[in-house]
Symmetry: C2
Protein backbone atom coordinates (compact mmCIF):
# COMPACT_ATOMS: atom_id res chain seq x y z
CA UNK A 1 0.00 0.00 0.00
CA UNK A 2 1.28 3.45 -0.98
CA UNK A 3 0.64 6.16 1.63
CA UNK A 4 0.94 9.90 0.96
CA UNK A 5 2.65 11.68 3.87
CA UNK A 6 0.89 15.07 4.15
CA UNK A 7 2.11 17.65 6.63
CA UNK A 8 4.08 20.82 7.29
CA UNK A 9 7.04 18.49 7.81
CA UNK A 10 8.28 19.76 4.43
CA UNK A 11 9.00 23.10 6.14
CA UNK A 12 11.30 21.57 8.79
CA UNK A 13 15.02 22.45 8.78
CA UNK A 14 15.92 19.06 7.29
CA UNK A 15 12.80 17.93 5.40
CA UNK A 16 14.59 15.10 3.61
CA UNK A 17 15.72 13.53 6.90
CA UNK A 18 12.17 13.89 8.21
CA UNK A 19 10.73 12.22 5.10
CA UNK A 20 13.22 9.37 5.54
CA UNK A 21 12.08 8.89 9.17
CA UNK A 22 8.41 8.78 8.16
CA UNK A 23 9.15 6.37 5.31
CA UNK A 24 11.18 4.08 7.61
CA UNK A 25 8.19 3.75 9.92
CA UNK A 26 5.93 2.95 6.96
CA UNK A 27 8.41 0.34 5.73
CA UNK A 28 8.50 -1.33 9.17
CA UNK A 29 4.75 -1.82 8.78
CA UNK A 30 5.01 -3.11 5.21
CA UNK A 31 3.94 0.10 3.51
CA UNK A 32 5.51 2.55 1.10
CA UNK A 33 5.52 6.15 2.29
CA UNK A 34 5.34 8.77 -0.47
CA UNK A 35 6.70 12.22 0.41
CA UNK A 36 5.80 15.52 -1.28
CA UNK A 37 9.58 15.83 -1.76
CA UNK A 38 9.73 12.73 -3.98
CA UNK A 39 10.14 13.32 -7.71
CA UNK A 40 6.90 12.15 -9.34
CA UNK A 41 6.92 9.77 -12.29
CA UNK A 42 5.88 10.93 -15.74
CA UNK A 43 5.64 14.68 -15.26
CA UNK A 44 3.98 16.24 -18.33
CA UNK A 45 6.46 18.44 -20.19
CA UNK A 46 4.06 21.43 -20.01
CA UNK A 47 4.36 21.55 -16.23
CA UNK A 48 8.03 22.43 -16.47
CA UNK A 49 7.16 25.81 -17.98
CA UNK A 50 5.12 26.73 -14.89
CA UNK A 51 6.43 28.77 -11.95
CA UNK A 52 8.02 26.49 -9.33
CA UNK A 53 5.16 26.84 -6.81
CA UNK A 54 2.56 25.75 -9.38
CA UNK A 55 4.79 22.89 -10.52
CA UNK A 56 5.10 21.64 -6.93
CA UNK A 57 1.32 21.86 -6.45
CA UNK A 58 0.65 19.71 -9.53
CA UNK A 59 3.31 17.18 -8.51
CA UNK A 60 1.73 16.83 -5.06
CA UNK A 61 -1.72 16.34 -6.58
CA UNK A 62 -0.26 13.63 -8.83
CA UNK A 63 1.37 11.95 -5.82
CA UNK A 64 -1.94 11.88 -3.96
CA UNK A 65 -3.78 10.40 -6.94
CA UNK A 66 -1.12 7.69 -7.12
CA UNK A 67 -1.49 6.71 -3.45
CA UNK A 68 -3.95 4.36 -1.74
CA UNK A 69 -4.26 6.33 1.51
CA UNK A 70 -3.12 9.56 3.13
CA UNK A 71 -1.77 10.24 6.63
CA UNK A 72 -1.85 13.91 7.63
CA UNK A 73 0.20 15.67 10.30
CA UNK A 74 -2.52 17.87 11.83
CA UNK A 75 -0.32 19.33 14.59
CA UNK A 76 -1.41 23.00 14.79
CA UNK A 77 0.79 25.19 12.61
CA UNK A 78 1.07 28.97 13.04
CA UNK A 79 -2.42 29.25 14.51
CA UNK A 80 -5.16 27.14 16.06
CA UNK A 81 -5.53 24.85 13.02
CA UNK A 82 -3.43 22.46 10.97
CA UNK A 83 -1.31 23.69 8.07
CA UNK A 84 -3.63 24.68 5.20
CA UNK A 85 -1.55 22.92 2.56
CA UNK A 86 -2.04 19.70 4.52
CA UNK A 87 -5.76 20.35 4.92
CA UNK A 88 -6.09 20.95 1.17
CA UNK A 89 -4.57 17.52 0.64
CA UNK A 90 -6.93 15.91 3.18
CA UNK A 91 -9.87 17.33 1.22
CA UNK A 92 -8.37 16.20 -2.08
CA UNK A 93 -7.90 12.59 -0.94
CA UNK A 94 -11.29 12.51 0.74
CA UNK A 95 -12.95 13.42 -2.57
CA UNK A 96 -11.12 10.47 -4.16
CA UNK A 97 -12.85 8.23 -1.61
CA UNK A 98 -9.72 6.64 -0.14
CA UNK A 99 -8.76 6.33 3.55
CA UNK A 100 -7.48 9.47 5.27
CA UNK A 101 -5.86 9.36 8.73
CA UNK A 102 -4.61 12.20 10.90
CA UNK A 103 -2.30 12.70 13.85
CA UNK A 104 -1.41 15.60 16.10
CA UNK A 105 1.12 16.24 18.83
CA UNK A 106 -1.15 18.72 20.62
CA UNK A 107 -3.77 17.24 22.95
CA UNK A 108 -5.92 20.37 23.48
CA UNK A 109 -9.00 20.23 21.26
CA UNK A 110 -9.84 22.76 18.53
CA UNK A 111 -12.19 24.78 20.70
CA UNK A 112 -9.62 25.11 23.50
CA UNK A 113 -6.96 26.19 21.05
CA UNK A 114 -9.19 28.69 19.28
CA UNK A 115 -10.42 30.16 22.55
CA UNK A 116 -6.82 30.97 23.44
CA UNK A 117 -5.82 32.80 20.29
CA UNK A 118 -8.86 34.52 18.89
CA UNK A 119 -9.76 36.87 21.76
CA UNK A 120 -12.90 34.87 22.20
CA UNK A 121 -15.77 35.52 24.58
CA UNK A 122 -19.00 33.78 25.51
CA UNK A 123 -22.27 35.14 24.15
CA UNK A 124 -25.02 33.13 25.82
CA UNK A 125 -24.17 29.50 24.99
CA UNK A 126 -21.98 30.41 22.01
CA UNK A 127 -18.42 31.62 21.77
CA UNK A 128 -17.48 34.40 19.38
CA UNK A 129 -14.26 36.24 18.52
CA UNK A 130 -13.65 39.98 18.34
CA UNK A 131 -15.07 40.13 14.80
CA UNK A 132 -18.27 38.47 16.08
CA UNK A 133 -17.46 35.22 14.32
CA UNK A 134 -18.51 31.92 15.86
CA UNK A 135 -16.06 29.42 17.36
CA UNK A 136 -16.70 25.74 16.66
CA UNK A 137 -17.15 23.92 19.97
CA UNK A 138 -17.73 20.29 19.02
CA UNK A 139 -14.75 18.87 20.92
CA UNK A 140 -13.05 17.92 17.67
CA UNK A 141 -9.39 17.92 16.71
CA UNK A 142 -9.87 20.69 14.15
CA UNK A 143 -12.55 22.18 11.89
CA UNK A 144 -15.45 19.74 11.49
CA UNK A 145 -14.75 19.15 7.79
CA UNK A 146 -11.39 17.62 8.70
CA UNK A 147 -12.48 15.36 11.55
CA UNK A 148 -15.68 14.50 9.69
CA UNK A 149 -13.86 13.48 6.53
CA UNK A 150 -11.29 11.34 8.30
CA UNK A 151 -13.88 9.46 10.31
CA UNK A 152 -16.21 9.03 7.30
CA UNK A 153 -13.31 7.65 5.25
CA UNK A 154 -12.79 4.91 7.82
CA UNK A 155 -9.65 6.58 9.16
CA UNK A 156 -8.60 7.44 12.68
CA UNK A 157 -7.18 10.51 14.41
CA UNK A 158 -4.28 9.74 16.73
CA UNK A 159 -3.37 12.32 19.36
CA UNK A 160 -0.20 12.50 21.48
CA UNK A 161 0.34 15.00 24.28
CA UNK A 162 3.87 16.07 23.39
CA UNK A 163 5.87 18.86 25.08
CA UNK A 164 6.40 21.88 22.78
CA UNK A 165 10.13 21.18 22.37
CA UNK A 166 9.38 17.76 20.83
CA UNK A 167 6.31 18.75 18.86
CA UNK A 168 8.06 18.48 15.49
CA UNK A 169 10.18 15.42 16.30
CA UNK A 170 7.95 12.93 18.16
CA UNK A 171 6.48 10.35 15.76
CA UNK A 172 4.53 8.19 18.23
CA UNK A 173 1.12 9.31 17.00
CA UNK A 174 2.24 9.01 13.39
CA UNK A 175 3.27 5.41 13.95
CA UNK A 176 -0.10 4.69 15.56
CA UNK A 177 -1.73 5.89 12.32
CA UNK A 178 0.47 3.62 10.22
CA UNK A 179 -0.37 0.66 12.46
CA UNK A 180 -4.10 1.48 12.28
CA UNK A 181 -3.94 1.66 8.49
CA UNK A 182 -2.18 -1.71 8.33
CA UNK A 183 -4.85 -3.28 10.52
CA UNK A 184 -7.44 -1.80 8.11
CA UNK B 1 -24.66 26.51 -13.15
CA UNK B 2 -24.66 25.59 -9.46
CA UNK B 3 -21.87 27.19 -7.44
CA UNK B 4 -20.84 26.09 -3.93
CA UNK B 5 -20.14 29.09 -1.68
CA UNK B 6 -17.21 28.05 0.53
CA UNK B 7 -16.00 30.34 3.29
CA UNK B 8 -15.93 31.21 6.96
CA UNK B 9 -19.01 33.31 6.19
CA UNK B 10 -20.98 30.59 8.02
CA UNK B 11 -19.39 31.87 11.26
CA UNK B 12 -20.65 35.45 10.80
CA UNK B 13 -23.22 36.83 13.27
CA UNK B 14 -26.03 36.45 10.70
CA UNK B 15 -24.87 33.66 8.38
CA UNK B 16 -28.28 33.29 6.71
CA UNK B 17 -28.34 36.96 5.69
CA UNK B 18 -24.81 36.57 4.37
CA UNK B 19 -25.76 33.48 2.36
CA UNK B 20 -28.72 35.41 0.92
CA UNK B 21 -26.38 38.24 -0.17
CA UNK B 22 -23.99 35.83 -1.87
CA UNK B 23 -26.86 34.00 -3.59
CA UNK B 24 -28.39 37.28 -4.81
CA UNK B 25 -25.12 38.16 -6.54
CA UNK B 26 -25.00 34.68 -8.14
CA UNK B 27 -28.61 35.08 -9.32
CA UNK B 28 -27.83 38.46 -10.92
CA UNK B 29 -25.24 36.63 -13.02
CA UNK B 30 -27.59 33.77 -13.91
CA UNK B 31 -26.17 31.27 -11.45
CA UNK B 32 -27.45 29.36 -8.46
CA UNK B 33 -25.42 29.80 -5.29
CA UNK B 34 -25.42 26.84 -2.91
CA UNK B 35 -24.67 27.60 0.75
CA UNK B 36 -23.34 25.16 3.35
CA UNK B 37 -26.42 26.26 5.34
CA UNK B 38 -28.83 24.86 2.74
CA UNK B 39 -30.59 21.62 3.59
CA UNK B 40 -29.23 19.00 1.17
CA UNK B 41 -31.56 16.77 -0.83
CA UNK B 42 -31.80 13.07 -0.14
CA UNK B 43 -29.83 12.76 3.10
CA UNK B 44 -29.24 9.07 3.87
CA UNK B 45 -31.11 8.08 7.00
CA UNK B 46 -27.91 6.73 8.61
CA UNK B 47 -26.39 10.21 8.70
CA UNK B 48 -29.04 11.39 11.14
CA UNK B 49 -27.63 9.10 13.83
CA UNK B 50 -24.23 10.86 13.62
CA UNK B 51 -23.10 13.67 15.92
CA UNK B 52 -24.12 17.07 14.47
CA UNK B 53 -20.60 18.06 13.41
CA UNK B 54 -20.13 14.87 11.38
CA UNK B 55 -23.61 15.26 9.87
CA UNK B 56 -22.75 18.80 8.74
CA UNK B 57 -19.45 17.61 7.23
CA UNK B 58 -21.20 14.95 5.14
CA UNK B 59 -23.91 17.40 4.02
CA UNK B 60 -21.26 19.87 2.87
CA UNK B 61 -19.42 17.16 0.94
CA UNK B 62 -22.70 16.21 -0.74
CA UNK B 63 -23.35 19.87 -1.63
CA UNK B 64 -19.93 20.16 -3.25
CA UNK B 65 -20.42 16.98 -5.27
CA UNK B 66 -23.76 18.38 -6.49
CA UNK B 67 -22.23 21.67 -7.69
CA UNK B 68 -20.49 22.57 -10.96
CA UNK B 69 -17.98 25.00 -9.47
CA UNK B 70 -16.79 26.39 -6.14
CA UNK B 71 -16.03 29.96 -5.08
CA UNK B 72 -13.98 30.20 -1.86
CA UNK B 73 -13.67 33.15 0.50
CA UNK B 74 -9.91 33.00 1.19
CA UNK B 75 -9.80 36.14 3.37
CA UNK B 76 -7.32 35.26 6.15
CA UNK B 77 -9.12 33.84 9.17
CA UNK B 78 -7.58 33.72 12.66
CA UNK B 79 -4.06 33.53 11.28
CA UNK B 80 -2.06 34.12 8.11
CA UNK B 81 -4.08 31.64 6.02
CA UNK B 82 -7.65 31.09 4.91
CA UNK B 83 -10.12 29.16 7.08
CA UNK B 84 -9.16 25.46 7.05
CA UNK B 85 -12.73 24.28 6.50
CA UNK B 86 -12.80 26.37 3.34
CA UNK B 87 -9.40 25.05 2.25
CA UNK B 88 -10.56 21.46 2.78
CA UNK B 89 -13.45 22.20 0.41
CA UNK B 90 -11.12 23.77 -2.17
CA UNK B 91 -9.08 20.56 -2.17
CA UNK B 92 -12.21 18.42 -2.35
CA UNK B 93 -13.58 20.24 -5.41
CA UNK B 94 -10.17 20.35 -7.07
CA UNK B 95 -9.97 16.54 -6.87
CA UNK B 96 -13.35 16.39 -8.61
CA UNK B 97 -11.77 18.32 -11.50
CA UNK B 98 -14.26 21.19 -11.57
CA UNK B 99 -13.49 24.96 -11.57
CA UNK B 100 -12.43 26.50 -8.26
CA UNK B 101 -12.21 30.27 -7.77
CA UNK B 102 -11.04 32.25 -4.78
CA UNK B 103 -11.35 35.76 -3.41
CA UNK B 104 -9.82 37.67 -0.53
CA UNK B 105 -10.34 41.07 1.07
CA UNK B 106 -6.70 41.30 2.18
CA UNK B 107 -4.20 42.52 -0.39
CA UNK B 108 -0.96 41.58 1.41
CA UNK B 109 0.42 38.33 0.01
CA UNK B 110 0.92 35.12 2.00
CA UNK B 111 4.60 35.73 2.67
CA UNK B 112 3.96 39.26 3.99
CA UNK B 113 1.19 37.99 6.24
CA UNK B 114 3.20 35.04 7.55
CA UNK B 115 6.25 37.22 8.18
CA UNK B 116 4.13 39.38 10.48
CA UNK B 117 2.69 36.66 12.70
CA UNK B 118 5.23 33.86 12.93
CA UNK B 119 8.19 35.67 14.50
CA UNK B 120 10.04 35.08 11.28
CA UNK B 121 13.64 35.90 10.48
CA UNK B 122 15.87 35.68 7.44
CA UNK B 123 18.43 32.85 7.26
CA UNK B 124 20.48 33.53 4.16
CA UNK B 125 17.95 33.75 1.33
CA UNK B 126 15.25 31.87 3.25
CA UNK B 127 12.82 32.92 5.93
CA UNK B 128 12.19 30.72 8.94
CA UNK B 129 10.03 30.98 12.06
CA UNK B 130 11.03 30.46 15.69
CA UNK B 131 10.63 26.67 15.31
CA UNK B 132 13.03 26.77 12.35
CA UNK B 133 10.24 26.08 9.88
CA UNK B 134 10.38 27.56 6.40
CA UNK B 135 8.07 30.36 5.21
CA UNK B 136 6.75 30.08 1.66
CA UNK B 137 7.81 33.16 -0.30
CA UNK B 138 6.34 32.67 -3.75
CA UNK B 139 4.24 35.87 -3.79
CA UNK B 140 1.06 33.82 -3.73
CA UNK B 141 -2.28 34.48 -2.05
CA UNK B 142 -1.87 31.53 0.31
CA UNK B 143 -0.14 28.13 0.53
CA UNK B 144 0.95 26.99 -2.92
CA UNK B 145 -1.51 24.07 -2.97
CA UNK B 146 -4.40 26.56 -2.88
CA UNK B 147 -3.19 29.02 -5.50
CA UNK B 148 -1.86 26.17 -7.63
CA UNK B 149 -5.14 24.26 -7.58
CA UNK B 150 -7.28 27.28 -8.42
CA UNK B 151 -5.11 28.32 -11.35
CA UNK B 152 -4.80 24.74 -12.64
CA UNK B 153 -8.59 24.34 -12.49
CA UNK B 154 -8.99 27.33 -14.82
CA UNK B 155 -10.18 29.54 -11.97
CA UNK B 156 -9.08 32.98 -10.88
CA UNK B 157 -8.14 34.60 -7.56
CA UNK B 158 -9.71 38.02 -7.07
CA UNK B 159 -8.19 40.31 -4.45
CA UNK B 160 -9.66 43.50 -2.98
CA UNK B 161 -7.80 45.82 -0.61
CA UNK B 162 -10.55 46.30 1.96
CA UNK B 163 -10.21 48.17 5.28
CA UNK B 164 -10.39 45.84 8.31
CA UNK B 165 -13.81 47.14 9.37
CA UNK B 166 -15.36 46.03 6.05
CA UNK B 167 -13.39 42.82 5.63
CA UNK B 168 -16.38 40.60 6.31
CA UNK B 169 -18.98 42.72 4.51
CA UNK B 170 -17.41 43.85 1.20
CA UNK B 171 -18.41 41.53 -1.67
CA UNK B 172 -16.66 43.29 -4.57
CA UNK B 173 -14.04 40.58 -5.03
CA UNK B 174 -16.67 37.86 -4.65
CA UNK B 175 -18.74 39.41 -7.44
CA UNK B 176 -15.66 39.55 -9.65
CA UNK B 177 -15.31 35.77 -9.18
CA UNK B 178 -18.94 35.20 -10.13
CA UNK B 179 -18.51 37.36 -13.25
CA UNK B 180 -15.30 35.50 -14.17
CA UNK B 181 -17.04 32.15 -13.79
CA UNK B 182 -19.93 33.31 -16.00
CA UNK B 183 -17.50 34.41 -18.73
CA UNK B 184 -15.91 30.94 -18.49
Amino acid sequence: MRVYLAGPDVFLPDPHARAASLKAICARHGMEGVSPLDAPDGVPEAWRALPLARFIALCNEAHIRACDALIANLTPFRGPSADVGTVFEVGFMRALGRPVLGWSNVAADFFSRTRTVAGAHAVGEEWRDDAGMLLESFGMTDNLMIDGAILASGGTIEIADVPPAERWTDLTAFERCVAALRRG
